[in-house]
């Protein structure tokens, strides 16, 4: 009987997630507001059901009451957070909120599966982050001059990035010197600098289209990328680079910049391949993980074992061996999910991320203020490109770069910065909606008055 429940739940979870991700695209085609709201409510229900079934499976497998407690606390958390956010962020995108909860819940489940202690820490971080971010719409609304602080962002960002080189503060981890240790808490500054970097680029580029200025700004951006390269944080460097190119392209409408960027990227890659041993190791591991399985290829090979053995339907929560993949809870969580929850689930997860990205871009398109528009573009690209890097690396589509899956992977800095990223986009959306409503009202008033005259 117990086994029937376990086996049936496995397939039900896949079904729930399929329907959930389908809704994520159907809503774009729906015009009627009531239907949209109905779909959003369905999505929430599906999310709660999936979350419940997953924890049920975890409990049945580990027979540890802690999972039930964690589950209950998380349900309360989701309930409270959605209620409060709807109050604080008026007219926010409910789709983005749903996706945020969905991705967080998948992360909670998978991290709890891999290591319960980490799951509890992750949950505390998320709860703290979500609470802090309640002030974001307030800040955006009150400080209208956020777009004027270009130099402020630039200096703050570089300074923060450089903290890792301060003796006694910076720490090396997995061969990259991109961590700092403050009061016993490890932080990855680049995760937060990502956002400052976007603000910096958007702030400057929303004001100028002059070639001379663009060269200056690009040099400043290159400083960021080079610092990250010096930290051996190649994934981070790539993300910054692609985000900057995207903002530059949208701001100027010049494809030539993209071409120049890729030209620079190609030559930089060649240089990196020649001069950095760890770059070569990664590329070798990508080309042929099997012959280097005892060394560089170990991670990717185990990731592929996990994905392949899991198949389309997965081994079932708790039934796989995700711990055999190094850092399965963060950089390789996609493989762990694919192994235990199945390939279909994993693809649906990617679809949810893409749906989220499309909604972000929709918000960017609706923005009337250039600074906000470019910020939204930069943040959207950072989000989607990071997913591309981590998933592509895990399935050997591209060399692995060691970045996290936003909101899903374990890691305080990663999840906090992603929550901030989501909040800023939502906050700008809220402000934009508000301005537009006011505009509409004024316009309507004017039209009314004109009508009266005629």
């Amino acid at each position: 009987m117990e086994n029937i429940v376990v086996q049936v739940s496995k397939y039900v979870i896949i079904f729930l997630v399929m329907v959930y991700s389908l809704y994520g695209f159907v809503v774009f085609r729906v015009r009627k507001q009531e239907t949209k709201l109905l779909f959003y409510r369905h999505q929430m229900t599906l999310m709660y059901l999936m979350h419940l079934l997953c924890y049920l499976l975890l409990f049945v497998h580990f027979l540890d009451v802690k999972y039930i407690f964690l589950y209950l606390v998380q349900v309360v958390f989701f309930g409270v957070i959605t209620w409060v956010y709807k109050k604080v962020y008026r007219n926010m995108s409910l789709l983005v909120l749903n996706h945020m909860c969905f991705l967080l819940s998948v992360g909670f489940v998978m991290i709890a599966r891999i290591n319960l202690a980490l799951a509890i820490r992750q949950f505390v971080m998320v709860a703290a982050g979500m609470s802090i971010c309640l002030v974001v719409p307030f800040i955006i609304e009150k400080f209208e001059g956020l777009g004027q602080l270009g130099w402020g962002y630039a200096i703050a960002g570089v300074a923060l990035l450089l903290t890792v080189f301060v003796p006694g503060l910076g720490v090396s981890k997995y061969g990259s010197r991109n961590w700092i240790q403050v009061a016993g808490i490890g932080l990855q500054p680049s995760e937060f600098v990502k956002i400052i970097f976007v603000l910096f680029a958007a702030g400057f580029l929303s004001k100028t289209k002059k070639f001379k200025n663009i060269v200056k700004i690009s040099c400043l951006a290159a400083v960021y990328v080079l610092i990250l390269v010096a930290e051996n944080d190649l994934g981070g460097a790539l993300i910054f680079f692609v985000a900057y190119l995207s903002i530059l392209f949208v701001a100027t409408g010049q494809p030539a910049y993209i071409l120049a960027g890729f030209g620079g990227f190609a030559s930089a890659s060649l240089v990196a391949y020649r001069f950095f041993g760890h770059v070569r190791t990664r590329v070798e591991a990508f080309r042929d993980p099997w012959s280097t399985i005892d060394a560089g290829g170990y991670q990717v090979a185990n990731s592929l074992f996990a994905i392949g053995t899991g198949g389309w339907f997965g081994m079932g929560l708790g039934k796989g061996l995700p711990t055999s993949i190094p850092v399965s809870e963060s950089d390789f969580i996609f493989s762990a999910i694919s192994e235990e929850l199945g390939g279909i689930f994993a693809i649906c997860l990617l679809l949810v991320c893409v749906s989220c990205f499309i909604m972000f871009v929709n918000i960017a398109i609706k923005m009337t203020n250039s600074f906000y528009k470019l910020t939204a573009v930069g943040l959207s690209v950072i989000y989607i490109f990071q997913i591309f890097l981590t998933v592509g690396g895990a399935i050997k589509f591209i060399p692995s770069t060691g970045v996290t899956l936003p909101l899903v992977s374990y890691g305080g800095s990663s999840v906090l910065s992603t929550i901030i990223l989501f909040s800023i986009i939502q906050g700008m959306y809220v402000l934009n909606q508000k301005n537009q409503q006011q505009n509409n009202q004024q316009q309507n008033n004017r039209l009314d008055r004109q009508g009266e005259k005629e």
């Binding site: 086994n3 029937i4 086996q7 049936v8 929303s206 995207s246 392209f249 949208v250 701001a251 409408g253 099997w290 399985i293 090979a301 185990n302 592929l304 074992f305 996990a306 994905i307 392949g308 053995t309 198949g311 389309w312 081994m315 039934k319 796989g320 061996l321 055999s324 390939g343 994993a346 693809i347 990617l350 893409v354 990205f357 499309i358 871009v361 960017a364 398109i365 923005m367 009337t368 203020n369 250039s370 528009k373 470019l374 573009v377 690209v381 989607i384 490109f385 591309f388 998933v391 592509g392 399935i395 050997k396 589509f397 505009n439 509409n440 316009q443």
Partner: protein, 479 residues
């Protein structure tokens, strides 16, 4: 109208065109990535997970009964049985006969048990029945491996080698199917646990656990003269004019070369030199060959590189290179010197000549099937490449027929069909003791089987390897 007005009111200086472009780009990127993921799941994952580094086999064994391994005629070679107390064990009905090629699943998997491990532990039959088993926590039957191995031929080879150390490999030239693969000394995989200590201790230096057919390398001896002759043909248009006067012993480049047991072959041309296996003639040829070209030819046959096969094997080596000293050549040309070859590789060379110059990749797993005999995946023969021109293959075949008709393998001349072959006696120490080799194929005109036989430390190929070959041909093709 209202929409238009609203737009003109917006004062954005940044157009949305770039945003659309970026969106399409990333969505496309994800479509391609998901496509790659699906491709991996459908086409690659099976091969990938079937890797000894994948630690998930024990997990699979909890829900799947390891599949059977069959001979080509569906004879059971390995199956999982259950003891009275419910524990499982692996049973090998033929005992030691298939111990190396099929392998064992305990004490470190080997052979097919290793290479097909994950496939044996995968149940590809997705039916209501298996789903029901899954729901009720009952084990499903794993997929079975149907091999290319001919059980009768394998038994014949196993018996023909008798108590001697050695190996036999039989291939189907047109496909690369491994028809038989025997290595002696052997062990009974049913009793591997009981005998594990003595097997690993290997006090008598018998290496029972090793598959000599694929893992041991031997000097090829006179079987190598085929390649020397081929190189001579390639370098000399008038190769048929070659003659040599053999008086049993001569010095080439300062190296003394004897013919086997000092026989004097008199005046020989290339054909006769091969038939009589005249060392003097080939040492002479060796002094005339271009080192660099000779090495290139041997490399094209698979020396100094991985052989084109999934079977686990040791690489054969051909040490001579452009910078080698002249003194190395006479020995190398007659298959002594530093050249080393596996029996599998020597069989592949015979099969390539038999297949008119095209080498086929040897394989031992024909297909995977479910318990309901539905085919899960079917192996298709793969060409490793054309190594010889058809004309060259025909010339070598004619000479090899002559070896059987008038030369050192004449014991094979009384079949109804003609046999092509080459014997060899590979000296492996200073005491002049030698391994007996035979490689060849039959029927010579339409080859159905190519073989390599080696009997360690026995003596001459004609005396010890040819009789083994004879039993194989008789078993497979009749009288």
């Amino acid at each position: 109208m209202k929409m238009n007005k609203k737009k003109t009111l917006q004062k954005s200086v940044v157009s949305n065109g770039g945003i659309y472009a970026i969106t399409y780009f990333f969505v496309l990127l994800f479509v391609v990535m998901v496509g790659y993921y699906v491709h991996f799941m459908v086409f690659e994952s099976k091969d990938v997970i079937n890797n000894s580094y994948n630690k998930r086999q024990d997990l699979l064994a909890e829900s799947v009964v390891r599949g059977k391994i069959y001979g080509a005629g569906k004879e059971v070679l390995a199956e999982t049985k259950t003891r009275g107390d419910g524990t499982e064990y692996r049973y090998y009905p033929y005992g030691a006969v298939f111990c190396h090629v099929v392998g064992r699943s305990e004490h470190g998997k080997t052979g097919i048990e290793l290479s097909e491990n994950f496939n044996l532990l995968t149940c590809s039959n997705k039916s209501i029945g298996t789903l029901w088993n899954e729901l009720n926590n009952k084990k499903n039957p794993g997929d079975s491996v149907v091999t290319t191995l001919d059980v009768d031929l394998q038994k014949a080879a196993y018996e023909a080698l008798g108590n001697r150390k050695g190996a036999v490999v039989a291939l189907e030239p047109s496909t690369g199917k491994v028809l038989a693969m025997v290595s002696k000394k052997d062990y009974d995989p049913n009793e591997v646990s009981e005998n594990w200590e003595s097997l690993t201790e290997d006090a008598d230096k018998e290496s029972r656990l090793m598959n000599r057919a694929t893992q041991f390398t031997y000097p090829p001896g006179s079987t190598f003269k085929l390649l020397t002759a081929l190189e001579y043909v390639r370098e000399n248009k008038k190769y048929e004019d070659f003659t040599f006067d053999c008086d049993g012993q001569e010095i080439f480049s300062g190296v003394k070369i004897n013919c086997y047991h000092g026989s004097e072959h008199g005046k020989v041309d290339l054909k006769k030199a091969l038939a009589k296996s005249c060392n003097g003639a080939f040492a002479k040829i060796g002094t005339e060959l271009n080192f660099k070209k000779f090495r290139k030819l041997c490399n094209s046959f698979g020396f100094n590189t991985e052989l084109p096969t999934d079977l686990v094997h040791t690489n054969s080596t051909f040490a001579l290179k452009a910078s080698s000293k002249k003194e190395e050549m006479p020995q190398t040309a007659i298959g002594q010197g530093d050249t080393l070859i596996t029996p599998l590789h020597n069989a592949m060379i015979a099969a390539t000549i038999a297949n008119k110059g095209v080498m086929m990749e040897p394989y031992v797993v024909d297909h995977l099937e479910t318990e309901e005999e539905e085919i899960v995946s079917q192996k298709e023969p793969v060409e490793a490449g054309r190594i010889l021109k058809e004309k060259e293959a025909k010339q070598l075949t004619d000479w090899m027929k002559n070896v059987v008709d008038k030369g050192t393998a004449s014991a094979l001349s009384d079949f109804d069909y003609s046999v092509a072959g080459k014997t060899g006696s590979a000296e492996f120490d200073s005491k002049k003791s030698s391994h007996a080799w035979f490689i060849g194929f039959a029927p010579a005109d339409h080859p159905k089987i190519a073989i390599a036989v080696i009997v360690e430390g026995a003596g001459s190929g004609s005396e010890y390897a040819v009789p083994v070959a004879k039993k194989l041909f008789k078993n497979y093709l009749g009288n």
